[in-house]
Symmetry: C2
Subunit: 119 residues, 2 copies
């Protein structure tokens, strides 16, 4: 059964789609890390008392957890991740140009769902 994929609902990623996905994923992660670095520098520069220090600790701990949870590079998770990143505007749709419709459709649909849910 050469055309059978083990998980029926998961699209197959071609080699070029995988390369594109990796690039888009890394770009979004890089931008998010850059934001956290900028915020950490700002918070640190404004520390005046110990509560500010522990606020910074808390901020970094939470962002680390969130980023680890969010950037889970498995093909079974990628449509969901890209949908979320589109919704958050951390990823631009043109960065996904080159993916086939079987990926773009669920990605857009998750972004739209999140936008609706947040409104």
């Amino acid at each position: 059964m050469p055309d059978r994929y083990p998980y029926q609902n998961e699209p197959i990623w071609s080699r070029s789609e995988k390369a594109l996905a990796r690039k888009a994923f890394d770009a979004a992660l890089g931008r998010e890390l850059h934001e956290v670095i900028q915020e950490a520098k700002k918070m640190a520069s404004q520390i005046q008392q110990s509560s500010d220090l522990w606020d910074l600790k808390h901020y970094l701990t939470e962002r680390r957890k969130e980023i680890n949870r969010k950037y889970d590079y498995r093909y079974s998770q990628l449509t969901h991740i890209f949908g979320k990143l589109l919704y958050e505007k951390r990823l631009h749709e043109e960065e996904l140009r080159g993916l086939r419709e079987d990926k773009l459709k669920p990605i857009r649909s998750i972004a739209q769902f999140l936008a609706k849910y947040a409104a």
Copy 2:
């Protein structure tokens, strides 16, 4: 049994000793927090990549744990804490002037033990 203290080996802290202990304790804690704040500001200002960011997170997490463990304001712990702070030079012996010998003796003895142990 008005003179009987529940824990035979623990000295009784007089009101003036308690006030002095609180002041010395807070001063040492304040100095230690000040150090951590300065170090966090320095580390944050030098962040260039995400590994530096998570190093800062790790540093803050560890220092928080260590400070919480160390600064445990219970009279049953104070001689040990002050001994350690003396050894670390975070506390000067003159800040403890006014404590009675039944406290100063174990405090000095702990400081000396730690100095010997570290050498």
